[in-house]
Subunit: 569 residues, 2 copies
């Protein structure tokens, strides 16, 4: 295996003029902590350490609408899951030389480099003479056949390191017949035996479509997915957690814990912390379990209770007033990035605004507001001016509000200020309120992976290699029994079709892996709900501190996972 960049599409002269957008890393200039992670030997689950074979479970179905899923995946539907079991003789052909591609898809999550290292090491150790390609820049790299051949020297500086910059990621999808054809051409050109797609729910759906497409075209190329997303919303019984969630939450929790101690020391600020995670509130819930803030808003609960923005504001204000009576004019409040997406009245307002902005002239005098329903008009007028402006201005290319750009934490501070002033006038509040806003997002996506994420990802990748070696396709790499020591972790693959349901879009059924939302009946939320009132009025702050890689604190696992696995936290 030698290091070389191949760019088959594009202008070679231009490529020469413009250096590669991502120069490889040089470990010699690493920080001490980065260096200290390079040579860490990761434990593997016992089943992967000696001889093993892959056995199959019973036929699978789908998460919903199995008939439609069966039609969409005629070759793959119903296939069983696979699990590695010890085997003296081994079951796999050690003489086989494989050609395997790997691609990173979507947003960064700590541990992606270790998935790649895991696949690579599997191939080195079990299929000597194999070749591994990293497609550059996400799925577009597959379509354009842009790749780098991976070798030990190239991979080394990325071991146990954060980021996706070894081969970079992208958000393109392989969707149209033309795009599937390009992917086939690449698979044929590189003589690929397999492809590992590291991504979230969409990317794994895409991986399954690709597996189906390759099989229907009689290509030998198998496709295996790996569960990636810091948001934690890609999970199921067989895939207990997506990688990156553990590290990202610990990074955010470190910052939240610091801010808490600052709040208590200063005694005069309410810190409103917005946390990444647009669709589901797992990150916010996990950070709450790690740090015990005074107030935590969980989007799924707001939606389930059909709460209005006023309800949310009142809840916050009620706590602030009661705390003021106790002499506490400070606190910490966690807010999920996607909060306003969960509020039915806001969704309604945004839908009406989208419609108006697409078709009407928005006059300075505000005549256009007459087009709003009275409920939406009332809400619009209730919103702070800056948020009104954001709702009117920011549109994505599809004409939709870019909800993630709305600074919900600042909006809530303003709404809380207004309500507190009312209560002050009414004589029911005489405290002091100063809000400080924070958004923790990009800081968590590329941190050095925790020991958990490093090890979990390595096992996911190593297992993906084994699944491809055994000829599996359309599975998502599945490592389980995660509350036990690493030696006892289980390794296998779950039929991607079994995670799927369909959604109707533009009159057609589209397969989707439903995002796993925070379950209000699940153990993590119930634990939180049982203690939040105590957290609100007593100050039970916990400061998790910086992620440690050595020592007694280094191997803690996130609360969400442990609680979901039935452990006491």
């Amino acid at each position: 295996m030698s290091l070389a960049y191949h760019v088959s599409n594009g202008d070679a002269a231009a490529a020469f003029k413009k250096p590669a957008a991502v120069p490889g890393r040089v470990a010699s200039v690493y920080s001490e902590v980065q260096k200290s992670r390079l040579d860490v030997t990761l434990p593997l689950p016992s089943v992967l350490k000696s001889g093993f074979k892959v056995i199959e479970g019973p036929a699978s179905s789908a998460a919903g609408n199995p008939d439609e899923i069966a039609k969409l995946f005629p070759n793959l539907f119903g296939q069983p899951s696979a699990v590695m079991v010890p085997s003296e003789s081994g079951g796999l052909d050690a003489e086989q030389k494989l050609k395997i591609g790997v691609v990173l898809s979507g947003g960064q999550a700590p541990g992606g480099h270790n998935v790649i290292s895991g696949i690579f090491d599997y191939l080195q150790q079990h299929t000597k003479g194999s070749t591994m390609y990293g497609f550059r820049g996400g799925p577009a790299g597959i379509m354009k056949c842009k790749y780098v051949e991976l070798n030990p020297e190239f991979i080394y500086p990325y071991r146990n390191q954060g980021g996706f910059d070894m081969i970079c990621s992208g958000r393109d999808k392989i969707e149209t017949p033309e795009q599937f054809k390009q992917a086939q051409e690449t698979a044929i050109k590189l003589d690929l035996d397999g492809l590992v797609v590291i991504g979230g729910d969409d990317s794994n759906t895409n991986a399954c479509l690709l597996a189906e497409n390759f099989r229907s075209a009689n290509l030998k190329t198998k496709v295996i997915g790996c569960p990636k997303t810091i948001d934690g919303d890609l999970k199921c019984k067989e895939v207990p957690i997506s990688f990156g969630f553990d590290t990202a939450c610990k990074i955010y929790a470190e910052m939240i814990g610091n801010v808490m101690i600052d709040a208590r020391s200063t005694g005069k600020y309410y810190h409103f912390v917005r946390l990444m995670g647009r669709a589901a509130s797992h990150i916010t819930l996990e950070c709450a379990l790690q740090t015990h803030p005074n107030i935590t808003i969980i989007g799924e609960e707001v939606a389930a209770k059909k709460q209005t923005l006023k309800n949310v504001t009142d809840y916050i204000v009620d706590v602030i007033c009661k705390r003021a009576e106790c002499g506490y004019n400070y606190g910490v409040i966690l807010i999920p990035e996607g909060l306003i997406d969960f509020i039915p009245e806001v969704q309604q307002l945004i839908a009406e605004l989208n419609e108006i902005l697409a078709h009407e002239i928005v006059d300075e005098g505000g005549q256009w507001k007459g087009k709003l329903t009275s409920q939406s008009l009332q809400l619009f007028d209730f919103l702070p001016e800056a948020i009104q402006e954001q709702l009117m201005l920011e549109r994505d290319p599809h004409g939709n509000v870019q909800v993630a750009k709305i600074e919900t934490e600042k909006m809530l501070i303003q709404m809380v200020e207004t309500e507190l002033e009312k209560r002050r006038q009414g004589g029911t509040y005489d405290g002091n309120f100063k809000g400080q806003s924070h958004f923790f997002g990009y800081e968590g996506r590329c941190g050095l992976p925790t020991n958990f994420d490093s090890t979990y990802c390595y096992a996911l990748g190593y297992g993906a290699g084994a699944l491809l070696h055994s000829g599996k396709t359309g599975l998502i790499s599945s490592v389980g029994n995660l509350s036990a020591p690493v030696e006892e972790w289980t390794v296998g693959g779950t039929a991607l079709t079994s995670l799927m349901d369909v959604e109707r879009r533009h009159g057609k059924f589209k397969p989707v892996i439903k995002k796993a939302m925070v379950e209000l009946e699940g153990a993590p939320f119930k634990k939180f709900a049982s203690v939040r009132d105590e957290w609100a009025f007593k100050n039970c702050y916990i400061s998790p501190g910086p992620i440690q890689f050595i020592g007694p604190a280094a191997n803690a696992v996130n609360h969400t996972l442990l609680l979901e696995l039935g452990a006491q936290v």
Copy 2:
């Protein structure tokens, strides 16, 4: 020593109704990392471990205007510094029972709790039967005689922990004759032998005034200062660094490093990171040395070169354009919080606006702008609308713009966007620019102190105890030789008057400890200046990762200190 809260001023019934604003911590609910820090035994400089005595150096002078300082401090001016040296016999009376108070003054900095632990342990080990009081809520606690008596059980949960919440801090000053009288009353009431003031430049000036006042009133109470500020702007030859700087910079650098890897992985964002540190740019410079960003703005350089906002914008835009030619449409840019304070034209504009807003009616039509000088008008019109609004609206109680509230990072993003658009029209730029803004501030003030800050603070406190035991007053605790192993650190005290100069305020000379700004001829800036062009166009990012407490990466010291001490970094 027993644990008890004493509130001598104020309503006891109210105190009962309102629980203490800061309940003591309970170590049993700590995170694993917090727990792991509690029982760490900190190394002490050798000189403090066995018998030592305090010897004096030559008479001191002042940093400037010694005649005026001599008039302001007739009792203290000229006193020598003190240094601990080994002594078989010991020089200090082990039978003496001391009553010592301690106060935290100003903003939080990691390590404050360890200064207190250091004083406490000194007293326990060298003056058995002594009593220690912690004044609550900063200098106001001295004036109101609000304190807690410290004992081992009370102190234990705060050992090596961040925050100031053991006794909390405050920003009051002891300034008026009435306030000095209150302080004297407290000193007499508690029969104080000594007081340790833990604070920044202002607080240490105040400590010296208090020492002078107590001595002139023939009180026995001695006053010793300790150098605290994350900003790093309280330092001199004898006090090589203020505590908290090391930890805060490492916390910010962790986040910056993460964002850098995200930038490189995504390839599409310029991250504009504003860093705390309003007066001096030490934090920004240190974070740059730790992480190698593409662009770093140092306020002191902007001021020295009399740069305009347009100059700063053009510099950033030049780098962005050149990077776009190289195929890089991403990067990381560090900006000190106080940037606009350093820009002469902005200071001028703000002064004019303050004057206009104090005396004129600001009309919607903009007639008021006629009162601006043409240079200021031009600058005002050049600023993004949101910044114009911030400049017009936000005033502190003294009628001044609250510069720290101005989101300089967002302002620069907008100005860069505008300039890039011009260049695109002019055909000199065809890249893509998307700015992301960050402010790292509160997250760094209360983190778990690094091994360096933990150890340094403990030595500062232990040394302060020894200085009081030997009857010293008006000194700042000074621990030196910090690039050597802890055993070889020197311990002593520096005459606070020797750090002082005077400023004329309201027609009177006021003593001040001048803030130590970034020296453009100093080693840290020169190192930075010698490599910044390489950092701008090559991507030399370093990700320091989370602070480690164990292992090879745990004992690194910040670059600024090492470079200033003449070490190679």
